[in-house]
């Protein structure tokens, strides 16, 4: 059902954990199935230098979390914000149709982490 890439990121997820003293944290949940994804980021200049996640969810949700935290490292905030759910699915070699909502969760949690960082900056 899942691509090899998905299975790899699920079985060996990258960036599991929580950044100590993060610059931004985003958490997003899926009300239908209860999945929750939490992403914390470290920002230097306007670049994301580190990202970690914790996820309560299915194999796809975990793989998406792993992939998105990989993808954003080294990216500017704007570049990171432009990552679409389709980008994530593509990087994972595709996701089953009914699992696409898991990648929305990923980009949403990331966006909230960035927003969190930006709102902290404003203070």
């Amino acid at each position: 059902m899942y691509s090899e890439k998905v299975m790899d990121h699920f079985m060996n997820p990258r960036n599991v954990g929580e950044i100590e003293n993060p610059d931004g944290v985003g958490e997003e949940g899926n009300p239908t199935c209860g999945d929750v994804m939490r992403i914390s980021i470290k920002v230097e200049g306007d670049r994301i230098v580190d990202a970690k996640f914790k996820t309560f969810g299915c194999g796809a949700a975990i793989a998406v979390s792993s992939m998105i935290t990989e993808m954003v490292k080294g990216k500017t905030l704007d570049e990171a914000l432009s990552i679409s759910k389709q980008n994530i699915a593509d990087e994972l070699g595709g996701l089953p149709a009914q699992k696409l909502h898991c990648s929305v969760l990923g980009s949403d949690a990331l966006r909230m982490a960035i927003e969190d960082y930006r709102s902290r900056q404003k203070k």
Binding site: F10, E27, C33, D35, V36, T55, F56, C58, G59
Partner: protein, 393 residues
């Protein structure tokens, strides 16, 4: 990698003896049972022999057995066929909230055609209370259908007591015994039911053969009209090889069920004990009134499909009732109706064993399961608890 199949509730491996019995009918004995010459007569005789074996598995006469192609077909046939046959007497039917989709969905279809359906609640173990059934029956009630054993939580319903309540009121009683027949002793006379569904692939028989038992003399409206097969009650060229395989599997099950149930109960209890050593894991269903090979749980803080995949990577094949592992992405109605919260239901994992399961399978599962849980909890944001969002079940 060694494999450990813990998903007998999804389907069981086809027994070698059953395949052996089927092969002649997949080769030279391909005749149509309706044909008037010898080959037809041979196919017909093979079906009738299988009918006797299936009948004797559940303690009925062969003439009460109608062969179908799946448990789902048997259930649809029973619900719709019995309700339509009696609709002049009334248009109320009663089912439980823990029925299989192949009962619930035809019940909903009947609602569209003017029937009223009551969905009985269950307690935290998934049990239907006979007193609740009694109160639900009205003068309009024509049919009650309660599942015999739940594939999701293993709970065995008190069918004898429930059927007695229906009988008192002159109401037909159907039980969906797809998950139980062949796996525990199922005797129609003792249970006192009027209709019963069973499916071969749930007890070592092939996919494509199933049966509906219908009490002698009872009228039932066909689901599939046409020729005179199955005494005019279910048309279609018979799937001779599958029916023969079902017969052989039924014969084997009948002779082994007692020993098997004993052996599997021990294995199950050991598995439950082992799994429950992991903190924040809870058994679902009843502790003792459950299918012998059935051990089902909800695991806090993690999701079922992820468990299933990680267990599969270790060669352990299980099922899950989590929303993410259902194609509908909905929390299991069975768990919800037992009072399990939607989040906790996400942690559903179901181990089911069968005839070929071994003590080594159980050892392996007990050893590997905690590792998977630990690994997934490391990933979970709830690792330290539901964080107020949810009390632990």
């Amino acid at each position: 990698m060694s494999t450990h199949y813990f998903d007998h509730v999804a389907t069981t491996p086809l027994r070698e003896e059953a395949l052996e019995a089927m092969l002649p009918y997949l080769k030279e004995d391909f005749g149509n049972p309706l044909s008037q010459y010898e080959a037809g007569a041979r196919a017909k005789a093979a079906i009738e022999e299988a009918r006797e074996k299936v009948a004797s598995l559940i303690g009925v006469r062969p003439s009460g057995i109608i062969f179908t192609a799946s448990g789902a077909e048997s259930n649809n046939f029973a619900i719709r066929g019995a309700a339509l046959a009696r609709q002049d007497k009334g248009t109320h039917i009663v089912v439980s909230k823990v029925e299989h989709h192949s009962i619930l969905n035809p019940a909903r279809f009947l609602e569209k055609s003017g029937f009223v359906v009551s969905y009985l609640p269950v307690d935290e173990h998934g049990l239907v209370d006979p007193e609740v059934l009694r109160k639900s029956i009205t003068d309009e009630t024509v049919l009650v259908s309660i599942i015999h054993a739940s594939p999701e939580v293993g709970t065995i319903e008190p069918i004898k007591e429930l059927a007695a309540v229906a009988k008192e009121r002159g109401v037909l009683f159907h039980t969906d015994a797809v998950a139980s027949a062949g796996n525990i002793m199922v005797d129609v006379g003792e249970l006192g039911v009027d209709l019963m569904s069973l499916s071969a692939h749930q007890f070592g028989g092939p996919k494509g053969a199933a049966a509906l038992y219908v009490k002698e003399g009872m009228r039932i409206v066909p689901l599939i009209y046409g020729g005179i097969q199955e005494s005019g009650r279910r048309a279609g060229t018979e799937n001779v090889p599958a029916i023969v395989g079902m017969g052989r599997a039924a014969e084997l099950a009948a002779s082994e069920v007692a020993d098997n149930a004993k052996r599997l109960t021990k294995m199950r209890d050991r598995l439950i004990e082992g799994i429950l050593k992991v903190p924040n894991v809870h058994l679902t269903g009843h502790r003792t009134k459950r299918l012998p090979g059935h051990a089902s749980f909800v695991v806090e803080f993690i999701e079922g499909e992820a468990m299933l995949l990680m267990l599969a990577a270790k060669g352990i094949y299980v099922a899950s009732g989590s929303a993410c592992s259902s194609k509908a992405l909905k929390a299991s109605p069975v768990l919800l109706s037992m009072g399990v919260s939607a989040s906790l239901a996400q942690g559903s994992v179901v181990f089911t064993m069968g005839g070929e399961s071994t003590d080594e399978d159980v050892d392996y599962a007990i050893e590997e399961f905690p590792k998977v849980i630990t690994r997934l909890r490391e990933i979970s944001p709830y690792a330290g608890g539901w964080g107020g969002q949810e009390e632990s079940g």
